[in-house]
Symmetry: C2
Subunit: 404 residues, 2 copies
Amino acid sequence: MAKVNDNYLKLPGSYLFSTIGKKVAAYSQAHPERKIIRLGIGDVTQPLAPAIITALHKAVDEMADAATFKGYAPDLGYEFLRSAIAENDYKGRGCDIRADEIFISDGAKCDSANIQEIFSTDNKIAVCDPVYPVYVDSNVMAGRTGTWDAAAGTWSDVIYMPCTQENDFAPELPDETPDLIYLCFPNNPTGSTITKDQLQIWVDYANQVGAVIIYDAAYEAYISEEDVPHSIYECEGARTCAIELRSFSKNAGFTGVRLGFTVVPKELKAGDTYLHPLWARRHGTKYNGAPYIVQRAGEAVYSPEGKAQLKKQVAYYMKNANAIYDGLSDMGYTVSGGVNAPYIWLKTPEGMTSWEFFDYLLEKANVVGTPGAGFGPSGEGYFRLTAFGNYENTMEALERIRMM
Amino acid sequence: MAKVNDNYLKLPGSYLFSTIGKKVAAYSQAHPERKIIRLGIGDVTQPLAPAIITALHKAVDEMADAATFKGYAPDLGYEFLRSAIAENDYKGRGCDIRADEIFISDGAKCDSANIQEIFSTDNKIAVCDPVYPVYVDSNVMAGRTGTWDAAAGTWSDVIYMPCTQENDFAPELPDETPDLIYLCFPNNPTGSTITKDQLQIWVDYANQVGAVIIYDAAYEAYISEEDVPHSIYECEGARTCAIELRSFSKNAGFTGVRLGFTVVPKELKAGDTYLHPLWARRHGTKYNGAPYIVQRAGEAVYSPEGKAQLKKQVAYYMKNANAIYDGLSDMGYTVSGGVNAPYIWLKTPEGMTSWEFFDYLLEKANVVGTPGAGFGPSGEGYFRLTAFGNYENTMEALERIRMM
């Protein structure tokens, strides 16, 4: 008789953003006349840049002609895109990453969820707390996290690294040695970053204890300060301890287009085993490539026009981030993030949990944010707002919050 | 210290089509002057139909305007596409499948590889032999298949159901009771089919023993005979025992566009647990939706123009199938498939293994096919040719084979 994967049954509630979606839908249905402003899920609102639209149309036309039609993509991605990435994201920043170490995918969410599959189920993971829920949930599903303590909101076999106001939202090296370390900078959800020197400490640590760092750099395009690394491969020794995940969702507005990539350096090992061929095998067996037209859109991100247009798009969102940061500060909220990241992290008003603040904000201001507790126990008492709304809505949301 | 998933290390060689790709690339490099005709991998060659091209351009234009721009798609797919599928693929065939039982994905390969994740690792799988390698390899990676017997070409914990000329390429109910049963009709690689009455026997059996059937109907558009079912839900009782996988790759030429879907009926349980919420949870956590523009392209498949154009496209490939079938029969080969499927399955000439025939065909005719042994031990002595080439190349390939 067929039996299910019991690990799924251990997952408490549903995926954070599904829960929020349901709450908002229920509120909308009850109050159809109210205009809700969504600064919750990290979804972009600006249209695709003209250079990308042109590339998409051109690629669609190629699909209309037998002479230029493209069927299955190469397993690991088209050479034109892998080369553009290697050249611009890595060589351009002094990182030694070659095109054949880059695996094109349909987004960093999938990669961040799937990457754990190539590791043993008895590996112990360490995550920042608060954390992007996918890192933990995908490990729960694989049976790597032990038992759920509902009161604490933690898993028995996960190492949590608290990131709170007290440590400036930067994780400290854990007491217990992990096998896999998930790091995300600029950070989702806190919007914080660490310097290159701070990241070097993690790289040295991982090399010393034989851990693998899974480094999520999905928000690197939002970095504005000099000493913040765009890639973990800016650190010495990262090629022997780190996998890097990247996304086109936030730097190019591809949340509905779907494109990302993962870097697995050829030197990287777990124990005696090289990881590059393992990820290649997973990719080749359980995935079938990103759409040709989408890979051409990705290529356009690196064209001179694309770069110029996207710089403006990022600046547009960062203007929102600044406005939210300054506006909330003015109102007396304790605020962080927003300088090198499109996320603002605020302390909820005294005596209010993060879900209470979620409901309060939805009710009083018709604004949707994300409760910090949804990202982990150390997120309790915090709340995330994103800068991905349009400017007018963002200003209106701030005004409504001011009037609450 | 990080450790890898040892199951990956058990996988022999690389994924079948990667191996073929490498062999062909090496041959091409050694003989750059020879024109190779590829009838190996099941990749299509005809351009996308005009209705689909129009839909893609229109959707791209929507992405260029903030008012119509689309970010993250709904977790399980856009309603417009799920409804079109429910209406056309199911209601139109008398199957009771609702839109909210349909999960949109980036293709049947991924779904067929991922679906095992929601089941316990101690479930025992049964597969046809020969079989699409992804079913088995994804289970190997999950640790469900025991040890590899290189001499036999089999895994110790997999139930193989031989499909050979002797049983007209139709699997028989296994002696040992499986928990999960993978079936694919019209079949890849043999091109064979079973009737609705034959499939009903499998549905009854699965319900009786509590097994779940994973039914891959990726080739249903090629069915030409009346009594061959297009969906397993045409059989009574399938809602309580079957998951169905579908693809847009072959009926609409989406191999490079990437779109598919999986049906999980709400009544379907494994033991006491409903599977629909489990697959929804996996989808929500480890996947982030198919691109908006691609889902609009999928919708166009069901438009009156799309249907008419794709009927012609399928007919085009089936003309190839008929020509290969008849041509090879004339040459004295023993041939099957090709009537309800785009695959021709032939017996290799006496004394030649399927890989020997692969090399022979590549060398003598510069034609690429797929060796039967790559699909399992009962595929030894057989060889697959696909009808997905263009007509002229297919005719030329046949002529070259005739001259060998």
